[in-house]
């Protein structure tokens, strides 16, 4: 008996926006799009209008003291969504600014109503309602809230989905006005140092669960693309249902001889592995081997590269694999990225490539590429990213620059170590006035693994892991001393000037 109304949700045509809105824009809703000048309000409105307008759902665009319409049309046309064929067929512009200056506000409202009645549009845009309201205050006793209310009621009665576009800063202004609306989209651009980042927030959308928080977006030749923050599976009970089956016992081969053995039989599928090491220790080479092994086994991969240029010799294999279409590459060096944007690209590429292995090289480069305004939240975003990736069931290898310190041992400057399921640390040590590389598997969650510290070399063929370094202690601290049992047979070397504590017989005589 009591049948509930079914609200249709419209696809806005803005990538990422429907997701944030909770499935699209409710039909017949009354929405405000607010933001400072240049924040992308008109572009957002136009993009939605061109996507939504059709013969069944024509659009009416009232221009009220917004930007000069000639300029608006000139610039909006640069976007690919601007379809000239729709103008004057399914999209009609109504310029009202001439009337605004001449007539009273009530007449203006009357005029809008008349136009709406005359053409029965399914979509109505009023740009900008701010100027309309200022005019209303000047010429009539109607308050801003009453005005919005009147307009809202009239347009809802006319069976139209409505958008009012206005210059408002998101905070501190006329909240009663915002209270009347069903939906409130706030656009802002934040400038920090030398980077500018655009952000969008759905402050309100009646009748549906929107994605909370501030989402970054970018304006390109195709218009606006929003990058929704990844939703962490397990946030709600509902999300759990869609989660992939518990991690299998399957292990992935790393593509480096003896490393699988050190990891206790390979890297468990679905794990995230952090490879931390100082510059030049071979992190990228290890990551490349991981991807190459995947390709060999028919498991496509994706790499997000923030480091070397792809043409450099070390990454030739990456290049070759990308060209062969075996792995996907996101290579970016722009310094105004949002993490969500990278993650959105990454998730799309993973789906597209059906990737099983993902490499992020490196977190340090990633942090640098991210706009300063997001750096404060870097760890949090990283956490969301790792969670989103593990939700997909892909196996992730992240590299991280490790500062050379010889007094304490750190895994990562971000404290991101706890985010990952497994950790491999690479180090330089000094033996016989020579730098040598060693690595150790520090952690593999829920699995046995080797506790040995092994020397390795980087050759043309890649990483070659040698035997455990049994004769020394304190390797990870960088200042090895020969183990006591063997020290007696060692020949003393002159190592005092090298800056590490010269325990008796600390230098190796031979190797």
């Amino acid at each position: 008996m009591n049948r509930k109304v079914d609200i249709r949700r419209l696809a806005t045509g803005v990538p990422g926006l429907d997701e944030i809105l909770g499935g699209g824009l409710p039909e017949l809703s009354f929405n405000l799009i607010v933001g400072a000048p240049g924040s992308g309000k008109t572009t957002l409105a136009h993009q939605m209008m061109f996507a939504l307008a059709s013969a069944e759902r024509p659009a009416l665009y009232f221009n009220v003291l917004g930007e000069p319409p000639l300029k608006m049309l000139r610039y909006q046309q640069q976007f690919s969504f601007f379809d000239v064929a729709k103008i004057n067929t399914v999209i009609r512009f109504v310029h009202l600014s001439d009337q605004v200056s001449a007539s009273h506000f009530d007449q203006l409202l009357e005029r809008i109503t008349q136009e709406v009645e005359a053409s029965s549009p399914g979509l109505v845009f009023v740009d900008s309602f701010r100027s309309l309201m200022l005019e209303a205050q000047r010429t009539s006793a109607t308050s801003q809230q009453q005005f919005i209310q009147q307009l809202g009621i009239q347009l809802a009665g006319a069976q139209a989905t409505t958008f009012l576009i206005g210059e408002y800063s998101s905070e501190g202004e006329s909240s009663p006005v915002f209270a009347v609306a069903d939906g409130l989209l706030v656009l802002e651009q934040s400038v920090r140092r030398n980077s500018m980042v655009r952000k969008l927030q759905v402050k309100k959308m009646r009748g549906q669960a929107t994605s909370p928080g501030v989402h970054s977006f970018r304006i390109t030749g195709d218009g606006i693309s929003v990058f929704p923050s990844p939703v962490i599976a397990g946030d709600t009970g509902a999300a759990r249902a869609g989660e992939p089956a518990p991690r299998s016992r399957e292990r992935l081969a790393m593509g480096v001889a003896r490393l699988d053995e050190m990891l206790g039989g390979g890297l468990p599928a679905g794990f995230s592995l952090l490879v931390a090491g100082p510059s030049g220790s071979g992190k990228t080479i290890l990551a490349t081997a991981f991807l190459a092994e995947g390709v060999r086994l028919g498991e496509p991969g994706v790499i997000v590269a923030f480091e070397q240029t792809p043409s450099r010799s070390r990454t030739h294999t990456i290049d070759d694999m990308v060209r062969a279409g075996c792995i996907g590459l996101i290579n970016t060096r722009s310094l105004d990225l949002s993490i969500d944007e990278v993650v959105a690209q990454l998730l799309e590429l993973i789906h597209h490539m059906k990737a099983k292995r993902v490499v992020i090289d490196s977190l340090s480069g990633f942090e640098l590429a991210v706009a300063p305004t997001f750096r404060e939240d870097f760890r949090e975003s990283l956490f969301r990213m790792v969670a989103a990736l593990s939700g997909l069931g892909v196996t992730v290898l992240m590299t991280s620059e490790l500062e050379d310190r010889y007094t304490d041992l750190r895994f990562s400057p971000y404290g991101s170590a706890f985010l990952t399921d497994a950790i491999i640390v690479q180090r330089y040590i000094e033996i016989d006035s020579c730098l040598q590389r060693v690595l150790a598997v520090v952690k593999v969650r829920g699995s046995d693994h080797s506790k040995e510290i092994r020397r390795y070399e980087i050759t043309e063929a890649g990483i070659v892991i040698g035997d455990p370094v049994l004769t020394y202690e304190g390797l990870l601290g960088g200042s090895p001393t020969q183990a006591a049992a063997l020290a007696t047979s060692a020949v003393n070397g002159d190592a005092t000037h090298q800056g590490f504590d010269p325990a008796p017989g600390s230098a190796d005589d031979g190797r």
Partner: protein, 138 residues
């Protein structure tokens, strides 16, 4: 192409062997339609600004157009144009009218592009007679 469309529109509206008054009426009625089509989109001020600029540019060829551009309080701008046109011989009135419209549409196209200009002004132009469809239509 625009040149032909404009010439054809004015010629059709002025009728056979028109005098200067007929040319002026054809011109004014075309301008009225242009204004009707464009004012909702770019505003009356937008139309006015482009019209004034067209008169100014046109006065390089026909100096008497400049007079039409000057302010004469109480007289609407199209009435001023009509007054100037009827004072001319039919030939130069027709040429000046065509030049004005052509300049105007070129100015508009420079702002908003050919495609949108064609789209917006399409209803203004007379459709070609059945047997004279232009070959180089693009």
């Amino acid at each position: 192409m625009q040149r032909e469309v404009i010439a054809r529109t004015l010629a059709q509206r002025a009728g056979q062997a028109p005098d200067a008054r007929a040319v002026a009426e054809a011109s004014v009625s075309t301008w009225t339609q242009v204004s009707e089509q464009l004012a909702p989109v770019i505003g009356e001020r937008g139309v006015e600004a482009l019209f004034q600029r067209s008169l100014h540019l046109g006065s390089a060829t026909y100096p008497w157009l400049a007079v039409a551009a000057t302010e004469e309080p109480g007289v609407a701008r199209l009435d001023r144009l009509r007054l100037r046109l009827v004072e001319r011989d039919p030939g130069s009135a027709a040429e000046a009218s065509a030049l004005l419209l052509l300049t105007f549409s070129a100015l508009l196209a420079a702002m908003i592009g050919d495609a949108l200009t064609d789209k917006l002004l399409e209803p203004v132009w007379a459709t070609p007679a059945l047997d004279t469809k232009p070959e180089n239509e693009s």
